[in-house]
Amino acid sequence: MAHVRLEVKNLSVSFSTFAGKVHAVRGVSFSLCDGETLAIVGESGSGKTVTCRSVMRLLAKNASIDSGEILLDGTDLLRLSEREMRQVRGNEVAMVFQDPMTSLDPTMKIGRQIEEAVTLHRKVGRREARSRMLELLRLVGIEDPERRSRQYPHEFSGGQRQRIVIATALACSPKVLIADEPTTALDVTMQAQIIDLLKDLQRKVSTSVIFITHDLGVVANVADRVAVMYAGKIVEIGLADEIFYDPRHPYTWGLLHAMPTLDTHMPSLYTIPGSPPTLTEPVPEGDAFAPRNAYALAVDEKYEPPFFKVSDTHYAATWLLDPRAPKAVLPEILAKRRREYLERRKRNAG
């Protein structure tokens, strides 16, 4: 088993708002191994961004972390002082934001913005910082870095800016890189390039990556493991193959069912009925997904499902996995995909 880099244990985060206390993250646990890419998927408001911002301790002022531990190589980040935390940000854990058009300071040359990330954590001279900056620009594929480092953000395209943002995040070779929907604001061709770049870089610099997205197509491309979040909780987590071909949670079924594939020949795409619950106090009891779930059982109304183990790497929180539960019938597309997957696995094993 690879070394565990980051471990989030039972994290709960809430926001105080005028409408009351909102429980955005409710007991999230996961771990991230060395050099691994974990994708966190879910609808808007499912708590994926809040979870990752908690790791950076960059939450809005009205947020509070109610419980949990965030262990980076065994150190609980939640116990660090603000000053100690600043040494972690950008140095051991770095983050790439969603919109590259607004992530860079418009009045500062991009070279300096990258150098800044270096000199904040490394005691190096100007010249050294500069050569590191040029190296980073080359690494992310910005051509003619000498000249371009003296330009301002408005002189770059969206894709190039995201490359610069990634270069900045990698400045101190962080142990963990959090990419919060890094391709959402880009057009499709750019998305593919940025994803290839991230995969390529991960091999070169060997950092662990948490990839937040709501695009399952992107997930299939980058992730080793996938965590599916719903209403502030992880509802299913497993290896990418397990999530894509052998999903166990009805919400994951819904997500996959709603994703178009090359052999989709339906006149319209499937959508999960209803919308996610608001997590304002009091949070409804039972399974938060039950009202939208065609497979919901009576027990879902009252009791939240615990995690059931599917395999050593695969867990899902649904009562359907309880031995007493009736057998659910998968949507045909998913069932077919699962059969093919199981056959392939059998062949490979045999």
């Binding site: 940000r89 950008g90 992530s103 418009p106 040359k109 904040l120 408005h154």
Partner: protein
């Protein structure tokens, strides 16, 4: 790049000259409609006497002819003589006073905006705390309290009660400038504090600040290196006119402190139909404004790379 700068400069200088010419023309024409004469005993003068005087000062000519003569004169640097003090040239009359007003104005503008920027920044950093409330309160009071009230208050505290600074006049060098400068600086201070607070709040909420925070930067570092520069850009626009109006003197403040500045001269010249002084004052004020606006644009080029002249226009 260099070429583009030259072309920019050339075009701007031409526009500036054009603007000034239009202002001179309009003012000259409007002034010719002013009732009365520049002579302070005009009621006792007979028609014949008036004519003699008008002839002496060239005021009997038609307006267009006077206008052309005047234009020709100022192009040769001759701004005429003051009609209030018949032996004094307008340039000497104003020259002695312009320096005083400008010194006060610049001191007040610099002091006021610097303190205002600091106050506004602190207020934004401590958003929604008592510090923020205090700064905002100060800005509202500073904006609404007339500067003569502030001036008298300053005199009372520092000159009368504490006795540390002169109450007025212009004979103790820098010490004489302190109180009038303070009185003048209250309003730009309040303005820029309010302005910077609003801008800074917006900037501090932007993605690039959050990204810089994610690099591990401290709040102070953030504000100084990324916040201020971005928050200052819009302030530059209002800074120019503030400075000019301060430089051309405040009649009230100069009067209260008995400072021999330009402000007093401005009203006096209008009241006495002192045509050439009015013209010179107008030209001075407009020239300053035009130059300051020009400098503001240059400053924009320096501080905001997006409006740079030499830059790519892609």
């Amino acid at each position: 790049m260099k070429n583009r700068w030259l072309r920019f400069l050339g075009r701007r200088l031409l526009y500036m000259a054009l603007t000034l010419w239009i202002i001179v023309t309009i003012t000259f024409l409007l002034m010719s409609f002013l009732p009365g004469t520049p002579y302070n005993n005009q009621d006792k003068l007979t028609a014949a006497q008036l004519q003699v005087l008008n002839q002496k000062y060239g005021l009997n000519q038609p307006v267009w002819q006077r206008y052309l003569t005047y234009l020709n004169n100022i192009l040769h640097g001759d701004f005429g003589i003051s009609l209030q003090f018949s032996d004094q040239k307008v340039t000497t009359l104003l020259g002695n006073r312009v320096g005083v007003s400008m010194q006060l104005g610049i001191q007040a503008a610099v002091f006021g905006t610097v303190v205002g920027i600091v106050l506004g920044t602190i207020a934004a950093m401590k958003h929604n705390t008592w510090i923020d409330t205090f700064c905002s309160l100060f800005a509202i009071v500073g904006r609404s309290a007339p500067n003569f009230v502030v001036a008298v208050l300053l005199q009372f505290v520092f000159a009368v009660t504490l006795g540390v600074l002169p109450i007025g006049l212009w004979n103790e060098g820098f010490r004489s400038t302190v109180l009038p400068t303070l009185a003048l600086s209250i309003s730009p201070m309040a303005d820029s504090a309010r302005f910077i607070r609003t801008e800074m709040l917006e900037v501090l909420n932007s993605d690039y600040i959050e990204f810089a925070r994610a690099k591990g930067m401290s709040e102070l570092h953030l504000v100084v290196f990324h916040g201020l520069r971005n928050a200052l850009i819009p302030l530059i626009t209002i800074l120019g006119p503030i400075t000019v109006s301060l430089m051309t003197g405040s009649l009230v403040v100069e009067n209260i402190f008995a400072v021999p500045g330009i402000g007093e001269q401005f009203t006096k010249s209008v009241l006495t139909n002192d045509y050439y002084t009015i013209m010179a004052m107008t030209i001075l004020f407009s020239a300053l404004l035009v130059v300051v606006i020009f400098l503001t644009d240059i400053l924009y080029q320096i501080i905001d790379p997006r409006v740079r002249i030499g830059g790519d226009r892609s």
